[in-house]
Structure formats: structure tokens, C-alpha cells
Symmetry: C2
Subunit: 723 residues, 2 copies
Amino acid sequence: MNTQEHPQAGTSSLGPQDKVPAAGTPGAWPRQAAARRLPRGRVGQASRMSLLDTSKYSQGSVLGSVNPDLASERRTASFSVEKLTARLDGGAEQTRIRRAVVEAIESDPVFSRENQYFQSQNERYEAAVRKAVHLQRKMHEMGWTESGPELKYIYRALSGDVAFLLHRVFMRCISVLGSDEQIAKWIPPATQYRLIGSYAQTELGHGTYLQGLETTAVFDITTQEFILNTPKISAMKWWPGDMGRSATHAVVFAQLYVQGQCYGVHPFILQIRSLQDHSLCPGITAGDIGPKMNFEHTDNGYLMLQNVRVPRENMLNKFCEVQPDGTYIKRGSPKINYFTMTTVRISLISDEVILPLMKACTIAIRYSAVRRQSKLKPGEQEAKILDYQTQQEKLLPQLAAAYAFHFINKYLQELLNRGYREVQTKNFDNLPELHAFSSGFKALATQYCTSAVEICLRACGGHGYSLLSGLPSLYTKILASCIYEGENTILLLQTARFLIKCFSAASAGQPVPPSVIYLSVMKAGKCPAKNKLDFLSPDIYTEAYQHAAVRLVSSTAAKLQDLIQSGVKKHEAWNQCTVQLAQAAKAHCHYITVKNFAETVEKLETEAGIQKIMKHLCDLFALHGIFSNAGVFLHDGYLSGAQMDMVTASYLDLLAVIRKDAVPLVDAFDFTDKSLNSALGSYDGQVYQRLYEWAQKSPTNTQTNPAYERYLKPLLHNTLSKL
Amino acid sequence: MNTQEHPQAGTSSLGPQDKVPAAGTPGAWPRQAAARRLPRGRVGQASRMSLLDTSKYSQGSVLGSVNPDLASERRTASFSVEKLTARLDGGAEQTRIRRAVVEAIESDPVFSRENQYFQSQNERYEAAVRKAVHLQRKMHEMGWTESGPELKYIYRALSGDVAFLLHRVFMRCISVLGSDEQIAKWIPPATQYRLIGSYAQTELGHGTYLQGLETTAVFDITTQEFILNTPKISAMKWWPGDMGRSATHAVVFAQLYVQGQCYGVHPFILQIRSLQDHSLCPGITAGDIGPKMNFEHTDNGYLMLQNVRVPRENMLNKFCEVQPDGTYIKRGSPKINYFTMTTVRISLISDEVILPLMKACTIAIRYSAVRRQSKLKPGEQEAKILDYQTQQEKLLPQLAAAYAFHFINKYLQELLNRGYREVQTKNFDNLPELHAFSSGFKALATQYCTSAVEICLRACGGHGYSLLSGLPSLYTKILASCIYEGENTILLLQTARFLIKCFSAASAGQPVPPSVIYLSVMKAGKCPAKNKLDFLSPDIYTEAYQHAAVRLVSSTAAKLQDLIQSGVKKHEAWNQCTVQLAQAAKAHCHYITVKNFAETVEKLETEAGIQKIMKHLCDLFALHGIFSNAGVFLHDGYLSGAQMDMVTASYLDLLAVIRKDAVPLVDAFDFTDKSLNSALGSYDGQVYQRLYEWAQKSPTNTQTNPAYERYLKPLLHNTLSKL
């Protein structure tokens, strides 16, 4: 690899093989490498002509030519990467469309993310608005439409770095909750960006607990208006995206009061800024909530309302309405109000949770295949860190999880689409199950994938900690997913409430929804596995998960029952069980995820190579879960200690097997270098050169040292009036 | 609390108690509150005169007057907060000194961190240098000396936001590894800041594996110089603090070559920038490595060397030397080179790991006592989130961990001081144990406390995600501790190697160091606990931890042995056991931490109130560990499932007990508001008002909207040449 390999020598391994450079050997690589970043290609990068005269470099490799340590990983793939990519996309045609969108976006300099890691919050915000505005033009130019097949890839291609995302939620909310007249009035100007909308639900004092919202909307029968107020500081709207600096309008959630009666939370359309000069409307105070861990590009805002009046027609009234005489009419289940949340919740999981994990895996695994550190065998070359069992054990389960959540998310998406069609026809029967489902999965997926990204970050050591690795921004962004769209613990407890209810129903012989039928058939007994290979059977591990979920649900239901029977009040008993209830909900969702993965693998039988590696990943995902939560499976003896040793053995064996395909498995995610935006994760694996070159562009290098003249020089010259 | 309480009403709980505001009630609080931040006091804040006329506010509380929800928590403390603070400080006199230092630093505007969350990397760096320079003056002014009792509190009072920390490591390195002549030559000018030093060890291609460093120092006998080179891009020094933009000198670690022979890594003093004009010296290329997750104030740098010559005397030569004729002489164990690392490793744990966790606990617990969300009991006021079992289960174990690691760290510090004295007298006997110890503990403490801070952050929901909460910066900073000063997995494996060696020795009847004698007495059998109260006995749980550690060490030793006997090569067998070896090392360190906590509690018998609450925390720390790692204890039946249920019951019971003292327990950490720098964690608990006021100062509010004229206005006015 290097034309002038330098000897690796330590005090402990001196020997004749240690060549020594002559004193004064000229530095073998230039001090300020002039290498330019080459455009990247997915395949065939290595064969491109280099822009540089590499003969000057002992390094022998420049950006764009694939690091041999990465090239060798790709030669031994056990499956077709291209076919797996198509499978993940849902067909080769989808892959083609996606790549065309990505190519169109990434070749347009307006959408560049190149200097993003150096930008301030103001710069990030301005860039996001610029991109959002430019995107309208681009869509027109490309012939992309809001209903076209390209739409879902645009956001992905922009890596979410674009403004007006809440404008979309604003529109969706009106479309779902608004009457035909309201849709006709608001959607066309919104579509044409003659107004910019936001979605103002969360308050300074209230997040997930919507009933507690403190903003009020009082109906004034004399003027046929609603009067909106945020009567306390805690009632101030806080967090809505696009609201801090951009939005002219917002759907504002407020407690509806009519003639002294409170009817709970309802949505109202409100203008907050002038369409002429963007000044705040009367009675409105609004601004940006300041710096956050990520989302610098988004103007999350605050909003205070002081006697803001809107006409009666501004309450979204597809399902309920206040009539001119103050009569409150319901036209459907109030549960519909939750549907917008449920859809947003799930629609976010793909782009905001699973894709970031796939990116993190790509970066960390490629880096681990080129990073060499220490020796596995004395006297040999330093080993790729991916060859260490501990590194495999950090990264490969996360890779398996990325696949697992990709598949379960597809499944959920189907459920959701069906639910959406049902709600459109005012059929709300499946909403409770869908809500409980989406809640628990949102919690499990966000928590699992956030931890997984963090593991990827830590697994890259110091370089992972550099923003230039791309991992910190992936982590700080995915972390938010644990918080927004419903706090995870509360969501798990919603799932748990559903499970307990279904468990009781099942115990009483009543019918329960399909997803929880398993709760009615608690098979006692023990796992039948006799050796470590048995644990590679999906039946064996799926049943173990099922058993654990049933046990946790039933034992918590029993504890709840016991407490109540012993005289503890119901709400207090519930609170005393919540730690275990959350655990039970997680076990349920974990079980469903494992089961769905196994079923997905079974359906891949037409593609042998892909099925085989997916089976390995499914096994790994399942056994990792058992290994990491051993207590849950050992507790009642369903697994014995000896069986747990078998699980461990199979689990560790799988690491070595999957390791061989690790790079092809992340290549199949098919991220471009620009979308990864990582000095460690690029396709060519030239991590050191790229880190060095990117660092040159940092304002800490391009701007003069602000501290020298003022502080360092006087200090060193001892001219400070000190001591 | 509020003079004009607003009704809480949802659709589900309408009733006569629902008062309704009259339509058009004037907004009860001003739109742009003019409240200024009041200076904070630890105690008695509530009684201070407010600068504001509160009669204008329905809110009824302004910054500086303690939120009644927090005040009530303090009235019921079961122990003396002041006495516990003194105990944590190591005596009331230490508390007095610490507070004096904190007061002196925080009252000096140069050290202010007020706008830190809004600053760029360049601004943070400049501020850190300014503070470092000003600190010299301040120390003189206050009469503080480098050997005085105040020193250790200065860094704490600055929250680490100061430059030249690596300058200290530079000096310590010379003091430990340099000869008397070298110390005499370099330490005085360094002390007077006539030069600024850094410590250049880590390279782009090598971190923890020092033997792999690629920088070379070749002895040129003709000129009596060492010629230093970084012969490949991966050899470039990368990460050293203070080196990117400040340092004039560095201790550079390089492979020493003399007459064709490599002698391994040695330290050399190198000038890198001119003392006159700060320009880079000949052969030097250096700069800043760019943006990171945190440490924006530090100029972590890179350094390339091209035939840089230093005189023979610049190799630090207390323990080894190259004589003029090229003879290489050792004067002591080469292990001494590791001692600097070991000391740095442990010295960081207090300030960089435990204090941040204490701060995170303070912020999250105070916030949880004032945040009200949802209802525990229908019809009641919304509950403090700290009253939810799930919130307690998130935060209180982290609080217990903060105490546990504080105590074990004190113990380690004593061991280290003893070790330092021994090394001074060239007694290296205890170095292996000390090194193994410090490695494992560094890994356990950093990993545990990092996760704990993240839990605190997540437990604060959306507001925790705001930089203004203070939690994101605590998290991104403590995360680095998992990476620097030795990658954690590698450190755990060093501990594991020591444990396996000791286990073998013990099995063979040979003597082993005191800390691992327990490995020789594997008591078979089962835990004798009969009910949940038995698990509040330190003997019971300490023995459970001991048993688990012995089992993991012995079973992994057996697996290793089996593999080797079955013909697997030793290094490969080792690799195949590393996941379990790391687990064993962690179990060992966890055991020692629990044991030390229990022993510490026992010694507190003179202070009954404090001993009682510390006992609860110790129990919680221990039972949380068993609850969270249940599989380890259930595996061989040492604990039965029924006993695990007892553990769970006792664990959950403890949460409710400790919850009552949660706020006093964090008050005892005695952080000032300025040092917490958190809108959520201030002593007065006025979180919403503070979030709102701090957000006003953000550049996203103080600077005009950069996107309006350019993008938003043309978009809304439809003057873009689009569509």
C-alpha cells in the first residue's frame, strides 16, 4: 500500500525486520497537500484518474482512489450489493428514481452541505430557508410533484437540512382536521407559499400531556370570534419549528371555551406575522428559542398571544364545530385529533431514526475496516479494528438493528396507510391498536437507534468525536427523536395500558386485536434448545421473546391487581407499576420486531445470497437482544444458564461470520459521500487525508488567531501588567 | 402560587370546578418581561428584595424568588445539607476555601460564562485564552499559589473553560520524566509563561496503542541532535490541546532510533512556534483540527514535522538517555512512561466525570421538582414529574452513582498519591496493580457517568435538549472522557489481563495483590436472602457482586484455557474472549465500587442523619446494578427469580424513600447558579421565566433575520422567478 512503509517498532519487539529510515530522509509527503476533493461515484471510483501526481506521495493514495483495505472488503461480498439495495428500496425502479433525485439535488450547489460543520445557527437557518425556496424552483425544473414518486427521496437527499418542514405539518393538519371549505381556503395559498405555516402545539409548560395545554380560545358570541390567550408564562407556545422567524401562520392548539364551558383542546388557524412586511401581528409576541443540540437550521420558536381574535371559521371543524349561537357540535370521534400525531410519529421514523442509524453504521464500519491499531498477532501488521471481537460486538448488532427497524418500519407504514384510509371513511375501530402500536414502536425504535448511533460514535474513538466524522451531528439529531412527538416513557405506558387491557380481555376469554392474541396463550415451560445451533432457529428465539413478553405483561398485571386488592388506590397502584409496565411494553415491541424480521427473511427465499446474510443479521439481532437482556429470559428459568451460554456462543460466532460482509452490508444502504458528509465514512476510505484537508477549511484555521495580539503576545513577551 | 390560577380542563373531566376566564381578559403578564437576572445566593435567595415590581405579574414569581415547589422540597430534608457538603469537601474548612475561590472567580466578569451557549469556536477559544491569562493576574491578586489549597478549586470554579490545561501536563511530564537539569531549564520559564507547552502524543493514526506511534526521532551522532519526522500522514500529531493555535513548545512522543536500532517511544521537547512572532518554526506545520462535539474553547491541534532538529539534551532523560557516543542507557523501568498517563487518567475523573454528573443530577432533579405534567390522581393538580416512579427510576440511580463514584474516586486518589511517592523513590512494585486499577476504573466511571448524564438530559424532555438547560454541553463534554486518556474497551482489557493473571496465580496458590485476593476464594452456593429487606444488607449485595465478578473472571479464564488447549493460538483465543473479558473487568470494578461505598457508609456512624441517607443511596446503587444486570446474577442460580423479584421490590421501594430527599441531596453538591449555567437547574427553580429571558439573548433574536429580505419576502410576495 505504501511505497515507503515505515517500520512499526516498540521496545518489546525489536528484531532484524526493523528497518530504519536514514537520518534526514526528506519528508515523504508535502506539508500542505494540494489534493482537491474528487467527485464521488458509487462504484468504479478507484479507476478514475487522479487529479494529482501521486508519484510525489509516499502515501500513494489520494482522495478518490479507494483505500486497499476497503477495496479488499468489497471483493469478498457473499451477495449482490446492488440487489440488496434494490430490495431495501422496494425494487430496482425505486432505486433508479432515488438515485436520480439524489444526483439532481447533490449536483446543485445551492443544496451543498459542504461547510455545514463550520456554520453558526444563523447561517444554518439562512441556508435552510435558501434551500427550501430553491427547492420549489428545482421541483418545477425537474418536473417533480407533491404526489410524485420522487417526493419521498427529496427530503432524504437533503438530509433534512431544509426549512418549512412544519409548513407541511400545517398543511397536513388542515387537510385532516379541516372542512372542505377550510381546505379550499388554506391549502392553495399554502401550497404556493403565499403564506408559511407552523404547527403550534407544545407549550413551555406542556409537551406530551395535551390535556394540560394552557392556551385558551374563548368564543365571543357577540363578534363571532375566538379570543386566544396564553394566560401564563408556561402557556407560551415553545418549540414549534418554522415559527421562530419564518412562519406567517400557525395552527394553534388551545382549550376551547364556549359560554363558560371547556370543551378541551382544539386547533385554530392564526396569522402571526404580516404578509406584507413580516412584522408581528397585534397581540402576538414571537421569537426563536435559541441554541439546541442540533436543528440549528430550524427556527424553533415561541409564541405568546394576548387577546388575539380570529373568526369563527378559523377553528378546524371537520369533526367538531362551534355554531354561531354557541352550540358545540361533534361530528366524529375526538380521537381523530390524535391521528395527526400518530401519522407524524411514524412518518418520522424512517428519515429521522433509521436512515441516521444506517449512516452511522456506514461511517463506523468503513472506518473500522481502514483503521489499523495494535496487533492481533505479535509480529504481524497492525490489525484492522474491525477484526477485534470487541469492535464487532459494538458495531454489528447496530447494523443488524438498522435492518430490523427498516423492515418493521415498512410493516408499520402499511398498517398506517390502511388506518389512514379507514379514518377518511370515519372508521375509527382500529385507532386504539394503531395508536398503542405506533406509540410503543416510536419509543423502542428511537431509543434503540439513538443508543446505536452513540455506540457507532464511541466506536470511532477520538476521530468519531470530531464533527468532521459526521457522527456527532447524527447523534445529536437522532437524540431529539426520543423527545419530540411524544416522550418515550409516556408512549411506552400508553402501549402498556393497551397491553394490560388486552391481557385482561384475553384472560376473560374475550377477543383481542391480532397483534396481541399471543397474550392469551401463555405457554409455560422451558426453551427446548439443546445446543448452540438450535439458537439459530427463528422459532426458538421468537418463542423466547414471546414468552418473555407474556411473562412481563402478566406478572405486572398481577402486581397491579394485588396492589389494588390490598387497598392501594388504582392510580397509585398504576404509578407503582410503571417501571415494570414500561419494561413489558418494550418487551412486546421487541418481540414484534424480531418476529417481523424473521418473517421477512422467510419471504426472501427467491434471493438465496441475500436471504442467507439477512438470516444471519436476524439471528444476530435476536441473540444480541437475549444476550443483552439475559435476566429477562433467565428469570423464570425459561432459559437455563447453560442455554444462555449457548446463546452467547452462537452470538459471538455470528459476529465473525457477519464481519466478512460488514462493508458490503453498509454499501448496500447506498449513501453517497455527500449525504454522509463524513471524513471517516467516504466510499474511498481515505480517512486521514480527508480529516486533514477538511480541517484546513475550519474558521479556526482560515481566520487569524483572535487571541494572539491581545493575549498571547503580551503574555509571552511578558508585557502584561502582571505578577 | 399563582394569583390568577388558570383552570386545567380537558374534554374528559368537565365539572363545576372549571372556572372560565372572561372573554377578553387582559393578558396577565407583560409581553417582553423586563426582569433582570438577579445575583444568586445559595441560601436565603427567597428573602432578597426583588428588583421588580411583582404586582404587575400574575405569575407572582420572578427570578431570584424561590419557586414554592422547590422551597417545599427543602423544608423536609432528613439531614443537614451543610454538613453533607462539608463531608463531600473533606471538612468544613475545605468548604470555606472552595466557596471563597468560587466567589472570587464568579464575581470577576472576565470569567463569566454567561453567553457561552451563543459563542462560536473562535469566540470560545479567545475567551479561554483571555481567562487563562487573567487567571495569572487573579492568582497573584488573591495570593493563590500553585501549591496552595485553593488550586484544585480554581479549575472547578472555571468549569474547565480555560486555556493552557495541556501546558500543565507539559510541565508535569517534564517534572516526572525530566532530569534535574531539564527541570531547572524548562520549568521556570514555563511557570512564568515565557513559553506555552503542549503534550503531543496522539497521532492521526494512533491513539491508545502507543507502541504504534509513527513519529520518528533519529539520533544524528555527527551533530548530537535528534531529527524528528512525521513520515506519513497517519504519523501527524492530532488532538493535542493548546497546540493548534497557542503553544510555542511541546513534549513530542516519537520512536527513538539510534544507530539503526529502535528503542521505542520517548518524549522530546520541541519548539514549534517563534517566541517573538508566533510564526511556525522551520520544518513545522501546525494548525487546529476543527470543530468537535465540545471543547470548542480548546485549540486541539495537528503537528507535522519535517526534519526538525533538537539538541540531544531535549530528550527527557530522567529514566533513560542517549549518550554522546550513541550509547542508550536505562536508569529505571520503562514502565515509568506510563505513570504520567495513569496520573492524568485518574486526576481527570473528579473534575471531568463526577462533577459533571453531579451538575446534571442537580439540574434534572430540581427541574423535575418544579415541572408539573399530567395527573397522578384524577381531579388533582398536575403532579411534579419527580413523583412519577419512572422519573425517579431514571434520576435517582444516577444520583446514587454520583455519590458512589465520588467515594471511590477519593479512595483511588489516595492509592495514586501513595503510588506517586513510591515512583519518586524508584519503587515500581505497585505500578502494575495501580495501572490495572486505574484503567478499569477510568473505563467504568466514564462510561457509567456518561450514560447517567445522558439519562438526566433525556429525563428533562424538550427543555433538556436546549443548550440553555446546560445538559447538552455537560453531555458532549463528558462523552469525550470515554475516549481520551485511553479508549475504554482497551483499558478494560488491560484490567482483564491483570485479573486473569491474578486468577491463575491465585488458583496456583501464589500470592496476589490485596484488591484481587477475593478471586482466590470462590464461594459456591446461593444468596441467603429470604425477603426483600435482606437485600438492604450490604453483606448480601456486596457478596452477590463479588460472586458475579469471580464467576465472570473464572468462566472466561476457563474458556480461554479451553480454546488454547483445543489448539487455538493464544492471541486468537484471547481475541475470542474479549467481549467476556471486558464484561469481567467491569464486574470487578463495579464490585469494588459497591464495596467501597458500603465501607464508606459504615465509617459515617458519627453522623446519623447523613449515614442513613447515604445508606439508602448505597443500597440503591447496588440494587440498581443488580436490577439492570439481572442476567449476571441469575446465570448460575446465585440469585433465584424469586430473589430477583425481592431485589426489584426493594429497589423500587428505595426510589420512593430517596425521592423525599432528592433536592437536598443535590443541593449538597453546592453548585452555584453560575457554575451550573442552566436555565432549568437554578436554585430558585424559575425555569420558564429563565428559559424565556435567556432565549432573548440568542443571536437568532438579537440579529436581524438573515433570510427575510433575501428569501422569505420574495417568496411571500411571489416575486421569485419560480413556477
